[in-house]
């Protein structure tokens, strides 16, 4: 999704604002469907490895403003690198829902033919990738940016990571190298207050990662309020700077982990649990646009219906798709198909 030429929140027009909401609704609808399917056949007694969707599941509900606000500035020629919690960014960056869902279900029609799974989504069409290792998605993003610049394109790479990840070594190394080589990179930190059960103040010596921009001589901003339009504005500046050869920027968004760290997380450690539902950014934004007259109730219903149709189509596609064949378990280790070290 690329919005019009407007870069600043104040100038967002009605169409742009509806597009942002549409994106957030699509993401949430997707995550709700995955939530439903994930838990559907893990009862009674939650078994992480059971069911149609096995394994760890990190859903992004509450963090839609980040994905929608940032990716609005990107085209499919730009790269986005995400983390163990990648769906919102994948969707906002335009990944097709069918192969995304199929990968989450571990099907042969998935992006990675079921080899990768939900933490390992690689889409050459949209230059999307992710990694399950904290902060280690950043370095490859630098290389994508390097390659874009080498090719003379004005494409950029956006690397997204959590606030917990901002304390990992790769974060520092990547920001320094990106700044040093003035690479067209935007680093976005999603501060959802938690790294699993560890609160931000127990992991990070400073209240805002924006100050860390100074350690690399690059702009650092913090966006409060989980506000998609504020994210959009901050990202717009950073993306434009990167495209223009002005080098990297650091944006931290104070967002919200609406659900558990992963599915099955009872969040007993979380004192703010009761408040959480009330901070859901989507109803807030819906109300705002309704109040501003940008949107009618029936527009909203239409957005929801459309999202639901798209998502259910993708889920149905995934479920109907074949599982990978065990006979092909050793395939794809090498491009030339030699079978690992055993060959």
């Amino acid at each position: 999704m690329t919005l019009g030429t407007t870069e600043r929140a104040a100038e967002l027009n009605a169409r742009d604002r509806r597009a942002l909401l549409r994106q957030m609704i699509l993401i949430r609808t997707f995550e709700e469907a995955i939530l439903r399917e994930y838990h559907a056949d893990k009862k009674p007694g939650f078994d992480i490895g059971a069911g149609k969707i096995p394994g760890e599941m990190h859903l992004s509900a509450g963090q839609e403003p980040v994905a929608a606000g940032v990716c609005a500035h990107l085209g499919p020629g730009d790269a986005v690198t995400a983390t163990h919690r990648p769906h919102h960014l994948a969707i906002a960056h335009g990944m097709k829902l069918r192969p995304l869902a199929a990968e989450i279900f571990g099907r042969e029609t998935g992006l990675g033919r079921g080899r990768g799974g939900h933490m390992h989504l690689f889409d050459p069409e949209t230059h999307f990738s992710c990694s399950g290792i904290i902060a280690e998605g950043l370095p490859p993003a630098l290389g994508q940016a390097f390659a874009f610049r080498h090719a003379g394109a004005d494409n950029i790479a956006v690397a997204v990571t959590g606030e917990g990840a901002a304390n990992a070594g790769a974060f520092h190394e990547s920001l320094n190298l990106a700044a040093l080589w003035k690479l067209p990179v935007v680093v976005v930190v999603e501060d959802n207050d938690w790294g699993i059960s560890v609160a931000r103040q127990s992991s990070t010596a400073v209240p805002s990662n924006a100050v860390r921009g100074a350690a690399y001589g690059i702009p650092g901003v913090r966006v409060e309020g989980n506000d998609v339009e504020a994210v959009h504005a901050a990202a717009g500046e950073a993306v434009a700077r990167a495209r223009a050869g002005g080098g990297p920027s650091l944006i931290e968004v104070h967002t919200l982990r609406l659900w558990g760290h992963f599915e099955g997380d009872a969040q007993g450690y979380r004192p703010d649990l009761a408040d959480v539902p009330g901070r859901d950014p989507i109803p807030v934004y819906e109300k705002k646009l309704l109040a501003a007259g940008v949107l009618t109730e029936s527009d909203l219903a239409a957005l929801r219906t459309e999202a639901s149709e798209l998502v259910e189509d993708a889920v149905a596609f995934a479920i109907a798709s074949p599982a990978p064949s065990p006979d092909e378990a050793l395939k794809y280790v090498f491009a030339d198909q030699t079978e690992g070290a055993r060959s």
């Binding site: 007694g45 939650f46 078994d47 992480i48 490895g49 059971a50 096995p54 394994g55 760890e56 571990g106 099907r107 990675g112 079921g114 080899r115 990768g116 799974g117 939900h118 933490m119 390992h120 990694s131 399950g132 290792i133 904290i134 902060a135 280690e136 917990g164 990840a165 304390n167 990992a168 070594g169 790769a170 790294g195 699993i196 059960s197 560890v198 127990s202 992991s203 990070t204 099955g264 007993g268 450690y269 599982a323 990978p324 064949s325 065990p326 006979d327 092909e328 378990a329 050793l330 280790v333 079978e339 690992g340 070290a341 055993r342």
Partner: protein, 352 residues
């Protein structure tokens, strides 16, 4: 150079009877840590989510409540920094237990582990000790994908200066943890998620078993014959012990007698026990959830061949065939050392 003589010099600690009290492996680990923390003020626990959460795989549940935030500390996601912190504290005489949440994350902190934790004692000519435990979760089988399902014990065992233990059951888990904490050397303690007996993960039936209430030590470096047999030997460890025992049980009904050797430690490796079982049956199947090549399974073959290349009539391996662990269940179970694969290998070994 046999270790038998070497070890005979030290009085071996006696492993007590298990009694009737039943615990899962996670609780057995917690109990060992808690008991050592009570005995020794210098023992402390750090790692990601080891405090209020109690460890993602429940290795530290209840410790924060018992010992408080000065001795049980959640860390930032900074594995090099906090493992290194453990090393420095150990150098100063403390006994840290540091959890690396998944062994798969070793790549962000291996320098601290293999170039510092494991080498300082040697580099200092024995003047500086590093008595610490690096505890970490291993293994797959629940579709956690290629970066969260690895075993990797071969990687640690290849690099000198750290002991490596891999318990398969609650009894050994407690005794090896106690030994690890009391050891003056760095010990890498690798528990398979599938042996922990977690409520939310498919468990093998032996992940809950009898564990003595008091302190005891399972000696580091001693394998255990988990089942006696005469036709073929399965040399294995960790979760695969249970698959192997299940297969042995099944084949016993057909008159195939399978010995199962649970290595329990990789460093030091109980080479005498390996040679003994190989000599007994002449047929060895190594079952290993780590990658096949350049790892444990090869070391077993070399150990036997060095001792006597004529000992074996059959040697085979049931390991992860040098492929990243796939996400999709159908693929993952095609590469894991499942009972089906083990059974086929054992049948082939005995020509049945």
């Amino acid at each position: 150079m046999s270790t038998v003589a070497e070890n005979a010099r030290q009085a071996l600690p006696v492993e007590p009877d298990a009694g009737n009290r039943r615990l899962n492996t996670a609780k057995a680990i917690q109990e060992a840590i808690g008991s050592q923390m009570e005995r020794d003020e210098s023992v402390f626990v750090i790692g990601e989510d080891v405090g209020a959460y109690g460890g993602i795989f429940s290795s530290t549940t209840g410790l924060l409540e018992r010992f408080g935030p000065k001795r049980v500390l959640d860390t930032p996601i900074s594995e090099s920094a906090f493992i290194g912190l453990g090393i420095g504290a150990a150098v100063e005489g403390m006994r840290p237990i540091v959890e690396l949440m998944f062994v798969d994350f070793f790549g962000v902190c291996m320098d601290q582990i293999y170039n510092h934790m494991a080498k300082i004692h040697f580099e200092s000519g024995g003047n500086v000790r590093v008595p610490m435990v690096l505890m970490t979760a291993t293994g797959g089988g629940y579709s956690d994908g290629s970066q969260h399902s690895q075993s990797l014990w071969g990687t640690f065992a290849h690099l000198p200066g750290m002991k490596v233990v891999v318990p398969s059951n609650p009894y050994d888990a407690k005794g090896l943890m106690t030994a690890a904490i009391q050891s003056d050397d760095p010990v890498v303690y690798m528990f398979h998620k599938g042996v922990m007996g977690l409520a939310w993960m498919k468990k093998n039936p032996r992940s809950i078993a009898a564990v003595p209430a008091g302190d005891y030590v399972v000696p580091i470096g001693k394998a255990k014959v988990a089942r006696e047999g005469t036709d073929v030997s399965i040399v294995t460890l960790s979760l695969s012990v249970h698959h192997s025992l299940d297969v042995a049980e099944k084949l016993a009904g057909e008159g195939i007698s399978v010995e199962v050797l649970d290595l329990r430690s990789l460093v030091p490796l109980d080479r005498d026990a390996i040679v003994a079982t190989a000599a007994k049956t002449g047929r060895v199947v190594v079952v290993d959830e780590d990658y096949q090549s350049f790892g444990l399974s090869g070391e077993i073959a070399a150990t036997i061949a060095e001792h006597d290349p004529g000992l074996l009539k059959s040697f085979s391996r049931v390991c992860v065939p040098d492929v990243p662990i796939p996400y999709a269940r159908e693929l993952e179970y095609a590469v894991l050392p499942t009972p089906v694969r083990i059974e086929a290998a054992v049948r082939k070994a005995v020509g049945a």
